[in-house]
Symmetry: C2
Subunit: 142 residues, 2 copies
């Protein structure tokens, strides 16, 4: 009988140990979730604000960005859309009305995917904005 108790107790201890190790590694994963982007390439399409500038956020969010995202395939990790609401100083217009971002693994693959679709992308611009966007390619450091 003592052997059985010993066996079951051992199993319990093993289970708890494995559990605690997995929790620890789980915690590591959760903590690194925010820095999973490090090393990725970020393509930012920034729409500067200005007199008479217009931007249809709904069209951009529901049609334009999903269309471009569709061209990128598995190279695309995620994309985000920001709406400018204020600048650093009070009563100053935000520098950008909107910013769309594609997080990709490879810049070369991004460029290769966009090149044959450039006309389709440009033809879509006037449907939601009269702003010529500024493009910034950056590397996620952290």
């Amino acid at each position: 009988m003592k052997k059985v108790i010993l066996l079951v107790t051992s199993l319990l201890l093993i289970s708890l140990t494995v559990h605690s190790q997995e929790m620890r590694s789980g915690k590591v994963k959760l903590e690194s979730a925010t820095s999973d982007e490090a090393g990725l390439i970020k393509v930012s399409i920034m729409y500067p604000s200005g007199e008479g500038k217009t931007f249809d956020m709904e069209y951009y969010e529901t049609l334009h960005m999903p269309m471009v995202a569709g061209f990128l395939g598995s190279n695309l990790v995620k994309y985000t859309i920001d709406k400018g609401i204020a600048s650093g100083a009070p009563n100053q217009t935000p520098a950008y009305v909107a910013i769309g971002k594609f997080f990709v693994k490879s810049l070369a693959d991004y460029q290769a995917a966009i090149a044959p679709n450039r006309d389709a992308i440009r033809a879509d611009f006037p449907k939601y904005t009269n702003i010529a966007p500024v493009i910034l390619i950056s590397e996620v450091v952290k």
Copy 2:
């Protein structure tokens, strides 16, 4: 004796059940990590490029950003750092050398936390750059 075995076995089962539930909730957190940002406020500190402009990325990453992040407490969801590497056109300098971003839940709380520390933050600027940053406050749409 049987009671002891039953008790230990029950403990083992309870432990395994709790374990599996925690693993499942851990997974849910990981899956939602990329879309958790919608609705958050993003404060972008953008450092424009230019003739004679300098920027010490290591100081920025290891000292300046962690210092500012430390002022923000639980309002801060995460922060990121990007290094500009190219523009949309070939052979054109990227518009920004670096961009730091704070993802916060409340803009008012961000401003309240920064106000009493503004002098300390500004005094740190010359230690890593001679660029006056452009600040953009945006809302994460997607």
